[in-house]
Each structure stands twice: as C-alpha cells, then as structure tokens.
C-alpha cells in the first residue's frame, strides 16, 4: 500500500497515537498512522472518566507525573484553541472515614511534591456549603482547583484532524499482525497489506505489549483493567458543581462522581482485571457496586434516570509507571502501558516521544512554513453556545435550526458536517462521538431511525436512504426543509 517507506509509522490512533502524529507533523517527516479500528480514538480512549487531571495525585518523580503536569497544561490551551469542550469544575477529594481524613494531609503534600500548589483543605462545613447534595457523613475534603472535565471524543479527533491536515496518512481498519526487516526499514504486515516505515512508534494502547514484543521488547505485559461507568440524565447535573473524588487506594483512584461536558453526571469506574482485551461488557455486579457507591456519595443521583452504562479498559501493566522509551538500533519507540491518565498526558507524552526520537537519531527538521494550528472542531459541549442556540448560525444555514436528536439537541447541520468532515465516522458510534446524536436519555426512541437514515444516506452509494427520507410524511417535511440552501 505504501511503496515508499514512510519516515515514521505510528501504530495506534488513540489519544496518544494521534497526539504523537500531530506533534511529529510539525517536522519534515513522512508519517503514517494506522489503527485496527475503523475510527480514531475508538479503543481505550473513548471510554474513560473524561477528566483532565492536573496530576496532583501522581507518584512524584515518576514519568507519569512529569508528562501529566506538562501534558495537562498543553491540553488545556489546545482545547481552548481547538474548541474541545472542557470545563474547569475543580475537584473535591472527600474523606468519609477517620482513616481517610487522616490521609488528606499526605495527599496535599503529594500534590505539592508534584509541583501542584492549588490544593487546600476544606473542612466539612465548607464542603457541604459547596456541595449541599453530598451524602451525609463526609468528614472533610481537599480541594484541587484546576481539575477539569473534557470531551474524550473530540480530543483525539482534533489531534487526528490536525495531523491529516498536515499530510499524515491515516489508515484505519488496519491491524498490524507482524513485522519484518526490509531494505533498512521495517515492513509491517497488516490486514490491508504491507506498510513500510523507517521508524515505528508503538502507541497501540491495549495492544502495546504485543506490538512491543514484535519489536523484541519484553519489558511489560498489558493486563487489561476494566472500568465500568454509569452516565446519569442531564437533569442530575444540578446535583453537583465539582468532581467528587474518593481517597485513592494503591490499586485504583476509586469511584468518583463527575459532571460531563455534555451536561450529564458520570459515576465510576470500577476496577477489575480481565483476561480479554476486548471485553468491554458491563456486569450486574459492577453496576450494582456503582449504584451503591453513588447512593452514598450523592443520594439524589440514583433517583435520576440512567442514560448509559459502559465499560472501558485501562492498558495497565505490571509496572506502576508508563512504559515509554526509544531504541536507536531498532529505530523504534514505545509509548505503552498508558493508563487512565493518557488523555490528560497525551500532549506531554507526544512531546516526550518526539524528543526521544530526535535523540535516537530521527532527523527532526521543522517543516518549512508550517505553523502548528489546532483545527476548529465542532463544539459539542454545554458550556458554550450550541448551534441550535445560535440565531446567526441558523440564519446563515437553516440546517442548524433543524434538531434531529431531541434529547441532545443535535441538528441536521451538525450531522451533515460530521459526515462530510476530514475524518468521517465509520458507523453510528462514530457519529455519536462526533455529534452526540442518539446519545441522550431516549437512546434512539425518538431519533434512532432518523439518525440511521442520515448515516445510511451519507454512506450508501445507491443513496437508498434519500428516497426513504422523502417518503416520510412528505407534506409535513416541507416546512422544515423549505429553508435548506
């Protein structure tokens, strides 16, 4: 498929792989980005707690701590520039037992050792003044003012859009099955033919251990750790202001309650090691445990409707820290074992990997005339103005006044834009991640058929969906369609 070897082939188009691609795109390099899935950010990147961490709770001195502090600062400004929904809600790390309360000062101290200073203790009275709906029995908290929420779907999509715009070749639905040496470069065997590259970067997430072994590494093994989460209805959003964190244990950050940028409330995650790196099923026991935790933390939450339940897999390893290194001899770099913090650290990891590649001998000449510019992504958050709320936008293009998904208020214009974007969705899931369509409380009761029709109309060569659409009570469709350009 690629007769001339690329300078660098990046395996994995998750949030880390796409971040590396957009960072390397600033140099005079021929880049290929491959992924098994049919979309970017469709693996471990798409299902997480959607928090932009400050890194206050990382292990001081670790690579994760360093890249997290750097990465979250970079992502904060990138998000603002690219229109990635993000909100600085702050977090409250709440102690529920005397032992947990006793641990709060050490958590503050840990944050300071990570260079994060905006932490302060919050006595119980002040805590309840801030979060009056918090369950009874909280003894106090630590406030982390800069913890934020972010859209985990727009982030890798923005990175990939920027990369593709800078000439990176994106190969989706392409699984790497092996590697061989050929003419001084790597020849990757893939499900869509051979892909050759002088250098290879492993950002394969849950597959990073297997890819590392293909390249002769034996330093780590991925042990997928499943986290189940429950998304509550938007009407629950008024129950809290900040992210409510538990006191972490050695194993997990624990079950948190957090607002989402889409205006929902998230409860989770659980932490359970699973043998199968594809096992993103929720379980009865997991959901039960989450509801029990939710009832304790924010009793009003469980009175609200559940919008969705899902599970994500963390690419955990036997090590506590990220597995990031470059090997000059093998012309190979690895960014593996990136767990929950990968979203927040992504740009830090990318910068670090670029540095390692340069030190290892990859020629890093800035691309002449290239100025990195974050793409303008469609805004799908609740903190800003959505198209349906924007009279000027509707006046310019009435498709933005035609709401298709009622629960999430997604317009036909937004769906049309997503389908015609640089990296169009491969399926309904991809469309949901780009627009929020069919993601709401009715889960398709009202709009499922209409959204499927728009998706089929964009994909089907016969455009069979179009005829079906005009068939829908034609008379009634007129007023809505009359203003279409």
């Amino acid at each position: 498929m690629t007769p001339d070897p690329a300078d660098v082939v990046i395996i994995g188009a998750g949030v880390v792989g796409t971040a590396i691609a957009r960072t390397l795109a600033g140099y005079s390099l021929d880049l290929v980005l491959v992924d098994t899935a049919g979309d970017v950010g469709a693996g471990t990147s798409k299902a997480n707690t959607a928090i932009l961490h400050t890194g206050f709770d990382a292990k001081p001195g670790s690579l994760e701590s360093r890249l997290l502090v750097r990465g979250s600062a970079l992502l904060r400004s990138y998000a603002a520039a690219a229109g990635i929904p993000a909100e600085r809600t702050g977090a409250l790390l709440v102690a529920w037992t005397p032992e947990q309360a006793a641990a709060l000062p050490s958590i503050e101290e840990n944050a300071r050792r990570n260079g994060y200073l905006a932490v302060r203790p919050l006595p119980a009275g002040e805590l309840y003044a801030r979060e009056p709906r918090l369950g009874p029995g909280a003894l106090g908290a630590v406030e982390i003012a800069d913890e934020s929420i972010i859209c985990p779907w727009t982030t890798p999509l923005a990175f990939a859009t920027e990369a593709v715009g800078a000439g990176v070749r994106l190969m989706l639905s392409t699984q790497v099955t092996g590697v061989a040496a050929a003419d001084g470069c790597h020849e990757l065997a893939t499900t869509r033919g051979p892909v050759r590259g002088r250098w290879v970067v492993n950002a394969a997430g849950l597959g990073s251990g297997a890819v590392d072994r293909m390249f002769g590494g034996d330093g780590f093994t991925i042990r997928p750790r499943r986290g189940e989460l429950i998304v509550f209805d938007k009407l629950a959003r008024t129950l809290l202001r900040s992210i409510l964190l538990p006191v972490p244990t050695a194993r997990t950050k624990g079950v948190l309650v957090a607002p989402t940028v889409y205006g929902n409330v998230l409860l989770g995650p659980t932490a359970e090691d699973v043998p199968d790196a594809g096992d993103t099923a929720t379980t009865a026991a997991g959901l039960r445990a989450l509801l029990a935790a939710g009832r304790r933390i924010l009793p009003g939450l469980v009175e609200e409707e559940v919008t969705a339940a899902y599970a994500g897999l963390r690419a955990a390893t036997e090590h506590a820290d990220y597995q990031v290194y470059a090997d000059a001899e093998r012309r190979y770099a690895c960014a593996g074992g990136i767990r929950s913090t990968g979203l927040s650290a992504s740009l830090g990891i990318a910068e670090h990997v670029a540095g390692l590649l340069g030190e290892a001998g990859l020629p890093m000449k800035p691309r002449p005339g290239y100025a990195a510019s974050p793409p303008a992504m469609p805004y799908i958050g609740e903190a800003g103005v959505r198209p349906y709320q924007d009279p000027a936008r509707i006046a310019a293009d009435p498709a933005y006044g035609q709401i298709v998904c009622h629960c999430e208020r997604v317009t036909r214009g937004e769906i049309r834009d997503a389908l015609a974007s640089a990296i169009p969705p491969a399926d309904l899931g991809g469309l949901r991640r780009r627009t929020r369509a069919a993601n709401g409380r009715c889960q398709g009761f009202y709009c499922g058929a209409a959204v499927a029709r728009l998706l089929a109309g964009a994909r089907g060569p016969a455009k069979s969906g179009v005829s079906a659409e005009t068939r829908e009570p034609a008379k009634a469709a007129e007023p809505a369609g009359a203003g279409e350009p």
Binding site: I230, K234, L235, G278, T280, A281, T282, T283, A284, G286, L287, L291, E305, V306, T307, A308, A309, Y310, Y388, Q389, D390, P391, I394, A395, P398, A399, G401, Q402, I403, H406, C407, R409, L428, R441, C442, Q443, G444, F445, Y446, G448, A449, A450, A452, R453, G465, A468, E469, R471, E472, P473, K475, A476, A477, P479, A480, G481, A482, G483, E484
Partner: protein, 491 residues
C-alpha cells in the same frame, strides 16, 4: 411573538387540545412540534384501534395522526413543525390568567421567544431504553425500543431479518412483535418477569394467533452479548436463577414508560414521584399558574384516545381561564392543593393533587399497580377518614385502574393528603383464591383465545354513550361506593 395559548407537542393530547381551544373561541393557538410531522407516536403505529373514544371511529395510527392534524389546522390552530421548545419560564403571576409564560423555541427560522397567556405541555412519554434498565453486557447494534423499531420499519422501510426477542408482555410488546413480523423478523418470544402476560386480546389477538409467538413468563433478560452486532441475550428464570443463552439479531425493549418531562422540570414545576410527570390538579393545571399538562406526560402511558381526551379536558379549563370557555368550569380561587398519594402496590395516580372540586378527565382518576392483585377494592382516605371505597378492581401491572371522582366533594381542603390504598377484604368477601384469568394465555407455546369478558365491553359501551369529557359514571359509581362503604366493616 405573543399568542393566547402555546401547546407544546402535536401528539393526540396536544392536537386535541388545540382543536378544543379553537372550538371554544380562543383567539390564537400555536402548536409547536419538534418532529417534522404532526401526530406523535401514532404516526408510526401501523396497527388499527386508534380513535375509539375520542373520534368514535377506529383507524390506524398514521390515519389517526393525520385526522387530528387536519382537524387542528381546520379549526384554525397554527401548527409549527420542526420546532423545538427549549425552555419554559412560567410568568409567576398569581392565579388565573396570571401568565404570561415565556417560551424559547428553535426551528429553521431561528431562535424565538414566544409569550403566551397559557401553556399546555403535551410532550408525551417514551419507553425506558435498555441502558436505563441497567441490563449489563456489551453494547451491540440491534438493541432498541418499540418507538425506534416502528420508525425504522414504518418510516424508513427498514427490514430486520433474523431472530428477534421482545422484552415485555404488555400491549405495546405485542405491537412490537407485529412490527417485527412486518419487517421480516422471526419473533422467538415475548419475555416478562411477571408470571403471566399483561395484555388482553383486542387488536393484538389476531396478530398473536397469526404469528404464534410464545410468552416466556417469570423470565428476565440478564445480559446482552455481541461485539458490534448482537449475538444474543442471556435469559434467566427469575425463580430459579437458571440462565440460558438465546441467540438473536434484534432485541426490543418495550413499555416501561417514562414521561418526557424535561421541559416540565426545567420550568421548575412540582413533579409527582409516582408518575414522574408534573403534579396536576383535576383541571390539569400544574404547580405554575397558567401552565397545564395533559396526555401521557401526566399518565404514561394511556392509549392515544385517552391522551386526546385528556388534552381536550385541559383545553376546556384553559379556555375558561382565558374567559372564553364554559363559566360552569370556573374553579374559583385555587387552593394550596391536597396531594393524592397512591400507596403500594399502587405506583401512581393521575391527576395527583386536588385544588378544587373540578372533575378529572373522563370523570375518573387513573392509577397503576406494580403487582398483579386479584380483584380488590380501592379505598380513598384522608386523615384516617374513609372517603370512598371502589368497586372491585383487578390490578395488572401497566394496565390502567380507574377510580371514580364522586368523593372529591368530601375532601377537606385544609386536611392532610388523600391516600388511595388497596383495601383488605375479609376472606369471605374477597375474591376466590384463583389466578385471575388473562384473556390470552399460553398453552404449550400456542396462543389460546378465551372469550372476552362481556362486562368489560359493556362498561366501555356505557362510558362511550355518556360522552367524553363528561363524568359519565362518576355519580353512579359514587352512589354505589357509598353503599358499599356503609356495608363493609371498616378495617
């Protein structure tokens, strides 16, 4: 823009309300409908049986939807399709005509604020999807609600070949089975946690006989499996816990209705924890003066004709409030409201507060039960005082239970909440210890029809003869209830 009445939602309740408002001389009636077509759920319910109680003829859902929309236009109501109401701000004015209410709307014409002297919320209801039922497992395609299925099949002409399973065994579940059969699916079974199905023959019987779909009772879908595409579901026996895997290509989650109450909640209306819709009095006015609610937003889900009559009922009170309707309906000063509480096994009652002696829609209250109960009397009590005792009613989950309104005059406006409880009868007065017979039952996986209960048909006939809107049998029931009250020994 200013209108006299803004109706939110052009389903059976909203359209019927608009027709009645215009008939009663209300000047400007604007109906905002977010879908591209008017009619609500009947638009995509292809079976017959619509229009029975309100239009006095029987037709298919789409025909019914068209008939109501045409009648609303003919009556002079303005219908705005593709128009989403995104917020309602009650004027906070005190008492009658206290509005105006401010409403923001989005359509292809832009963002607009409409001020209305009164607003009627008729936003309907939806089925709880799989996620809201917290059924674990994978998240493959092929899992949907009846609403989505019907739109895919009847509005998008989608085919769904392969095996299909229907979760639920109430009326709508049979409708889903029929839709699946129309789409080319083979329906393996209807699955219900109850030990019997909850529907009755009526219109579904023909379909059931035709497609020979068994009902798996005391069974629950416990897990959904399939990566990308649905492989099947795990169905467990709720008594033994024994589970088995059922391969299928489509799973339809039916019923388990919840009002589409977002606007009501954003407007800050008092909500009823039972119906999960706004609290409404017998005139269907909410806790905010000038804001009314009708249809399946206040009783999810009744049949379309009952929703339509609920809309018509609200319209009459709105018209009276605006000075064009019947003076006899004038409620006078609106009291603080005495709440009506439905106690277990009853789940909810609608309307659910009393602010005047006005009769509720159809002259009766509608209730739901969470369990099957053999025929029992409902008792209406306030502060321990027995206000009324109903005739014997059979309780079936998701099926309406009706309670007459003859006791409203006996409610003490200054008293505590009115409680509706399921009365306990002495054994010799109670029902025989037999399983209530459902009129469609399964024998060795085959449908068997039992003769319809003539008493039911008779009651329906009488109700129809008495006419909608009027309290057809409230008085008579009241009489009978008083008799039974004095006859029965207090518990």
């Amino acid at each position: 823009m200013k209108v006299d009445v803004l109706v939110v939602g052009a389903g059976p309740a909203g359209l019927s309300a608009a027709i009645e408002l215009r008939r009663l001389g209300v000047g400007s009636v604007l109906v905002a409908e977010r879908e591209a077509a008017a009619g609500g759920v009947p638009r995509h319910s292809w079976h017959t049986g619509y229009g029975l109680r309100d239009l006095r003829r029987v037709m298919t859902g789409p025909a019914y939807a068209r008939a109501l929309a045409d009648a609303a236009l003919a009556a002079g109501a303005e219908l705005r399709l593709g128009t989403t109401v995104t917020g309602v701000i009650a004027g906070g004015g005190a008492g009658l005509g206290g509005g105006p209410v401010s409403v923001s709307m989005t359509s292809v014409d832009g963002v607009e604020t409409v001020r209305a002297a009164a607003v009627l919320l008729a936003t309907g209801c939806r089925e709880r999807p799989r996620a809201a039922r917290l059924i674990p497992g994978d998240r493959p395609a092929g899992v949907m609600t009846t609403g989505e299925l019907q739109q895919r099949v009847y509005l998008s002409a989608e085919r769904r070949p392969g095996r299909a399973l229907v979760v639920g065994a109430e009326h709508v579940s049979f409708s889903a089975a029929m839709t699946l059969a129309h789409a080319g699916a083979r329906v393996i079974a209807l699955v219900t946690e109850y030990d019997r199905q909850q529907s009755y023959a009526a219109f579904r019987l023909g379909a059931a006989l035709r497609w020979r779909v068994p009902v798996w009772t005391s069974a629950r879908v416990e897990r959904v499996a399939g990566r990308g595409r649905l492989d099947g579901v795990e169905v467990a026996d709720v008594r033994t816990g024994e589970a088995r895997f059922v391969p299928c290509d489509t799973v339809v989650f039916t019923g388990d209705w919840i009002p589409d109450h977002e606007l009501a909640r954003l407007a800050g209306l008092a909500m009823d924890p039972g119906t999960r819709g706004p609290v409404v009095d017998t005139r269907l006015e909410t806790s905010a003066a000038g804001v009314f609610a009708a249809g399946n937003l206040v009783h999810a889900a009744e049949t379309a004709d009952v929703a339509a009559l609920s809309g018509r009922h609200a319209a009459r009170h709105v018209a009276t409030m605006l000075g064009t309707g019947s003076k006899s309906l004038a409620a006078g000063a609106r009291g603080a409201g005495v709440p009506i509480l439905a106690e277990p096994p009853l789940r909810w009652i609608s309307p659910n507060t009393i602010t005047s002696a006005a009769t509720p829609p159809l002259g009766r209250f509608v209730l739901r039960s969470r369990d099957f109960r053999r025929p029992a009397r409902l008792e209406v009590r306030q502060d321990g005082r027995l206000l009324a005792r109903s005739r014997r009613v059979r309780l079936v989950p998701e099926r309406p239970v009706h309670l007459g309104a003859g006791w409203l005059a006996r409610v003490d406006p200054a008293g505590g909440p009115v409680r509706v409880v399921t009365g306990s009868l002495p054994v010799w007065l109670g029902a025989p210890l037999r399983r209530p017979r459902s009129r469609v039952s399964v024998r060795r996986g085959r449908w068997r029809a039992e003769p319809p209960a003539t008493s039911h048909a008779g009651r329906r006939h009488r109700a129809r003869a008495a006419g909608p809107g009027l309290p057809p049998s409230a008085h008579r029931h009241g009489e009978r209830r008083r008799r039974s009250t004095s006859a029965a020994s207090p518990p």
